[in-house]
Amino acid sequence: MSGTSKSPWIIHYDGSSCNGCDIEVLACLTPMYDVERFGVINTGNPKHADVFLITGAVNERNIGVVKQIYSQMLEPKVVVACGACACSGGIFHDCYNVIGGVDKAIPVDVYVPGCAVRPEALIDAVVAGLGALEEKRAALELASSYEAKELAKAAEQERLAEAASQPLLEEPAKTEEQTDIDINADEEPGE
């Protein structure tokens, strides 16, 4: 199953950039660069997307949005920080409301420098992201494989057995003590 790297669908979100990078992202879809050659589609839907392109810095207002889009995307997924602002906050890094680069909100796989980022660099970044996407897919497949499930089940049973053997000896003793104290406490005012 190598389909993952052949159809990277993207979702594009603009944090707080000057729109320079956004225009370059859209330029990738035009006849000049035509990223659909590689199966790239701009979906606009986090549930269909594999690659998350973010331009601009993360600020107090949009950090929730960025996190939500990321959480709605299904594994395997890759985050590409496009441009200087998305990498580190860029020219806006000193602003009172700017938190910093995208990696302050979500894990970033590929950083693309540039102000504004060049479409060629963006295409390179998506291709670099495909490597990460393929690795994540392989990891996901491994995690869902039979052996991994058996190992996880065995580990879980061991943990449960350990947990069951320990507290049973201690907990009843504790409760008895507590009830004794409680009874005494109730009786004292009466006497």
Partner: protein, 288 residues
């Protein structure tokens, strides 16, 4: 003769999705060329679906998966009835049932995007369903039978008797193939104001099943076009294939040259054009 029926049905089940996928790939390639782009490889739709199957399992609710699987099943079932030369009316009703399951699946997500998409799809069903039911009626008036297999036994192809109804069918297919200007419920191209409409909340395997359903539907629609051209002569099959190619190219041209219209316009146009042409066709038939 009985064997041919089963072979046709099996061919539809096995080869249908591949033909549908390749047609969609060619569609995307031609569309790209029309826009001055290179375009994706022909097998891109297959890569897309392969990728969707490798995605993490996560759905809004389990019911949605079930409805989409039912939609896929009934789309295949409709195709099997059609390609076995069975009852055209039944095939069309089963196909509508498949679309209804997609609508219910979209509603089950309870998301504003897929809710609106489902409403629009329901409206589209309302736009084309009167014609889709009347078409077999016209065929019955000509051949005295609803059986698709009758077309192969008679020397005169349907197009000779029902040219206006064929034009209506092409109009309706633009809606059924969810192509612009009627891609109201969900769009194949860049996202629209409803993001992806009905399919917004579908992901991974569920969305893959929806895509495969569209491939089967495409092949079934090709069958509907071909039905108008085949007759008892062997070369009529070549004419039918030629007609299918020409009609699909026409659909691609329409898709790329028209902006999306509102649902009100879709409803008015589809009812006015298809019903007028139907009545005119029937009137002419009654005089001959």
């Amino acid at each position: 003769m009985v064997m041919i029926k089963y072979i046709a049905a099996l061919a539809f089940i096995v080869l249908g999705p591949f033909i549908g996928a390749i047609v969609q790939g060619i569609d995307r390639k031609i569309t790209a060329r029309m826009q001055g782009r290179v375009g994706p490889p022909i097998l891109q739709p297959i890569y897309d679906v392969k990728k969707l199957f490798a995605k993490e399992d996560a759905t809004v609710n389990g019911v949605m998966d079930f409805y989409i699987i039912l939609a896929l099943f009934f789309a295949v079932f409709a195709g099997v009835i059609f390609f076995m030369g069975g009852n055209l009316l039944l095939a069309i009703f089963v196909l509508t049932l498949s679309t209804l399951f997609v609508i219910v699946a979209a509603y089950s997500a309870r998301s504003p995007y897929s809710d609106l998409g489902a409403e629009r799809e329901a409206l589209q069903v309302m736009c084309y369903e009167p014609f889709m039911v009347l078409m077999p009626v016209a065929m019955f008036l000509v051949y005295g039978s609803f059986e698709v297999a009758t077309t192969v036994d008679i020397a005169m192809p349907l197009i000779v008797y029902m040219p206006l109804i064929f034009i209506s069918l092409i109009f309706i297919l633009t809606i059924k193939l969810r192509k612009s200007p009627f891609d109201l419920s969900t769009s194949h191209h860049a996202h629209q104001e409803l993001v992806k409409g009905m399919t917004t909340e579908m992901s991974g395997k569920t969305f893959a099943a929806f895509e495969i359903m569209e491939w089967y539907e495409t092949v079934l629609f090709f069958g509907l076009i071909g039905m108008f051209f085949v007759s008892s002569a062997w070369w009529s099959w070549l004419v039918a294939i030629g007609a299918i190619i020409v009609c699909y190219l026409l659909e691609i041209i329409i898709d790329n040259n028209f902006a999306r219209v509102k649902w009100q316009t879709t409803l008015k146009w589809s009812w006015a054009i298809t019903l007028l042409l139907f009545v005119a066709n029937i009137a002419i038939l009654s005089f001959i």
